[in-house]
Amino acid sequence: MQESSIQPKTVEMQQPEPKGKPRGKSPLQLALRRFFKNKMAIAGVIILAVVSFISIFAPLFISHDPLATDLYNTNAEPGGEHWLGTDDTGRDVFARLLYGGRISLIIGLVTMLGTVLIGAVLGALAGYYGRWIDALVMRLTDLVLALPFLLLILFVIAVLAETSLWILIITLVLVVWPQTARIVRAEFLSLREQEYVLSAQAIGCRDSRIIFRHMIPNAVAPIIVNATLLMGLMITVESSLSFLGFGVPEPTPTWGNMLNAARNVRILSSEPWRWIPPGFMIVITVLAINFIGDGLRDAFDTKSTRR
């Protein structure tokens, strides 16, 4: 990362120069160029875009209410009226699949943003100031990381005795932020010793300016990679929690809830339309996000030979 981390200073110095003059590409542009050459990553972007689009604009594709039950048409096979059949209270599986995507994506996205926000700020403070702040933040991350991940979430949800989408998101953020914090801190520890940081300190820049203007942009690559992979992870965690019955409560459709409802030998063998679609959606969404994450990592890592 050292090569690229010198660059922002150069960029800053180049800014006053007149436009139109031929110049070298910025590291971000270089990274983007490398990213767009990665076919898997592009496939990931397209898949994620499609999934997001049909989830957000679900009402355009399906007229059924995902919550509307129809007890006289339960466990229906896929057909004209219900494209993917109905579940055991007669709710349309296709509608639940599309609307369920919203929940999964919201959880993935919001948790990721929350985690990055908390993790990056605390990690940056710890890495920049060191000493007791560092010790405090790091012991806190040790504490959270020492607890079994899934168990901790189950514990929090059990204590609160109820869950909603937002409680679940907050819980996830509180459990996951140490990972990001550690990555950012490690990055800051090395950046702190760089000449441009020292010179900025020497000319009397405020700490906040040094952190946010100079250091964060240099640490952004690992943060982005980490955040992307985290988003995929969060979608699987939501599904696992719903599957265990601790996720977003019924009747809200989520992919995990749909899988949970199909947890039965008879349904697994005779009603595949109940569990294959949500399972497939989870797999392709998480896969797409991971492709993007991998692509970003390769693109930002200038030492990588995988081009």
């Binding site: 006289y72 055991d88 209270t89 109820e162 869950t163 019924e250 030998v265 008879r266």
Partner: protein
């Protein structure tokens, strides 16, 4: 086992907590009347083919969905799987017949009441022996009663002796024996009760336990004794051969049984998880399966090697209103909600037709069932809306949900426990149904059973889903009297209390079954009008067994919960 009649099924009730509750319900005295019970025909093992003459030998394998607690004593057991082997190893004094009357003699040869119905004389048969060869005498019966009445007894069966004179004094530690029990000779005993009641016999503990084995122990020691955990000495047609905790229980034929000996050599109970039980039944690893989900019915029916039967269960599910909440105190609102829930669709869609819509506390299989209420509260959303409108519930702010008569937004919360898949599915359906009549109902997170019932008892919820398992006796005290602990809706009604007492204690009710039925009819109509519950449905009990087992009887209790039939089971030589 008399206690066996009080069935607790994991999927409908779950949890030990629930069981405690059910045990406090009374059983019925049911003499001299007939019952219109459904599906009571006995069925021979095969499908119409002549199975031939019974032969001895062979073993039958049964399944338990979870490991039994291992307390194999009829006085102390708490777990539903402990009781299964007990059915076949401990005899009762008397048994219910297929018409729900206590007429079939077991260890008691005959019994009669005094003219004032307050004293019961029981004559034991003289040829019955414990599995270790000791004779069974009234001392064993009195020992069982005194164990239950003992101050150190903490089990749930106190109500089955507390009507005996002196039971209260003994339970409080003021007396060492039951003053109402008089031993006439080794095989005759006279019991005097505090007061005459219509359900005395049904409510009296009727399973002797071996005094010579437990002598000198207090109830706390008895629970832990080897005779309870490792080598129980019983009185039934089968005796314990081997108990392997968490794995299996093996019973073998008792060769010295007083009646006709059983045909089978062995009955094995093994722990099979519910997920794989259907498969185990289909490939012959287990011979019997109970608690079958309605969705499985059709596919099992197609299997030629299996017999599948169903009967209406003595149990029902309901949605309760917490009447301590002010917003639920309006009777009209409760009636509207009852009209607004499509219960027929629940039976057709969730139970696949294997159940019945219920409008009263009495299930259809009971003799006390009130035919008049059969079609009370049909599904009628228009009528529900009309009732709401008349009572002042109108949607004035145009959000499609009604406000209460004062114009404040009305939101109700529906809570329900986990553990019963059909009930869990019914919750969002109810919310949708009520939305159609303009009621805004929020669904609570499903709670774990223990937590749920604790909160229900503390009256913390607004609307809640729950269920009851009932005994053949229709006496609803225990859950319907104003001061009852398990009167979950906190419904207080003097008229109701009066009727419940009258149906058990009044002379006319004791003497004439038809009179008792009339009192219950009046009571069920009162409940229906006041609507503290929405009675939802009564699910059928579905059981299946392998056709290689012949001579199986299936009636309102199912196939495996009465020992009298187990003697008749047999397996053809070539299939043993």
């Amino acid at each position: 086992m008399m206690m066996g009649l009080i069935r607790i099924r994991q999927n409908s009730q779950g949890g030990r907590k629930m069981k405690r509750k059910i045990f406090s319900l009374g059983l019925a005295l049911v003499l001299g009347w007939t019952v219109a019970a459904c599906n009571n025909q006995a069925s021979p093992g095969g499908d119409g083919e002549d199975p031939g003459e019974p032969v001895d030998g062979g073993k039958v394998t049964m399944s338990m969905f979870s490991a039994p607690k291992g307390i194999f004593n009829p006085v102390f057991y708490e777990d539903q799987y402990d009781v299964y082997p007990l059915h076949y190893t401990f005899e009762d004094l008397w048994y219910y017949d297929k018409d729900l009357r206590l007429t079939i003699p077991g260890l008691a040869e005959k019994w009669e009441f005094s003219d004032d119905n307050q004293t019961l004389t029981i004559h034991l048969r003289k040829n019955a022996k414990w599995h270790d060869g000791e004779p069974i005498t009234v001392d064993d019966l009195i020992f069982a009663w005194e164990t239950i009445a003992h101050p150190d007894y903490t089990g749930s069966r106190l109500y089955m002796v507390e009507k005996i004179k002196g039971a209260e004094a003994m339970h409080e530690g003021e007396a060492d024996e039951l003053s109402g029990v008089e031993k006439v000779d080794d095989y005759t005993v006279k019991v005097t009760f505090e007061q005459a009641a219509a359900n005395t016999l049904a409510n009296l503990w009727a399973t002797p336990i071996p005094k010579h084995v437990y002598e000198g122990m207090n109830p706390k020691e008895m629970v832990k004794a080897d005779a309870t955990k490792k080598k129980p000495i019983g009185s039934g047609p089968f005796q314990f051969k081997e108990i392997k905790p968490n794995e299996y229980v093996v019973l073998e034929r008792n060769p010295d049984y007083y009646g006709e000996n059983a045909h089978l050599d062995q009955i094995v109970w093994k722990v099979v998880s519910q997920d794989v039980a259907i498969g185990a039944l289909e490939n012959g690893e287990i011979d019997f399966l109970t608690q079958i989900a309605p969705e499985e019915f059709e596919s099992l029916k197609k299997n030629e090697n299996l017999t599948v039967k169903e009967t209406q269960d003595f149990a029902y599910q309901y949605m309760g209103f917490n009447l301590t909440k002010e917003k639920l105190q309006d009777k009209k609102l409760r009636q509207a909600i009852t009209y607004g829930i499509n219960r027929k669709a629940m039976v057709d869609g969730l139970l696949k037709g294997h159940g019945t819509v219920l409008n009263q506390h009495m299930p259809q299989a009971s003799w006390a069932y009130n035919e008049e209420l059969k079609d009370a509260y049909p599904y009628d959303p228009e009528k529900a809306k009309k009732i709401l409108k008349e009572a002042g519930y109108e949607d004035k702010d145009g959000d499609n949900f009604v406000e209460d008569p004062e114009g404040n937004p009305l939101t109700l919360t529906l809570s329900y426990p986990t553990g019963n898949p059909v009930r869990e599915k019914s919750a969002p359906v109810i919310v949708q149904d009520l939305k159609k009549i303009g009621l805004n109902v929020k669904l609570d997170q499903p709670a774990e059973q223990g937590v749920f019932y604790e909160k229900v008892e503390k009256a913390e919820y607004e609307l809640f889903l729950a269920g009851w398992s009932l005994t053949p006796d229709p006496d609803p005290s225990g859950i319907w009297m104003s001061t009852d602990q398990w009167n979950f809706p906190r419904w207080e009604n003097e008229k109701s209390d009066e009727l419940i007492k009258k149906a058990v204690l009044s002379k006319e009710a004791i003497e004439d079954q038809e009179k008792r039925k009339q009192i219950y009819a009046e009571w069920t109509e009162l409940v229906s009008e006041e609507a503290p519950y929405v009675f939802l449905y009564s699910m059928n009990r579905i059981e299946a067994w392998n056709n290689r087992v012949k001579g199986v009887t299936f009636d309102w209790r199912g196939a495996i919960e009465d020992h009298n039939w187990v003697n008749e089971w047999w397996i053809p030589k070539d299939q043993q």
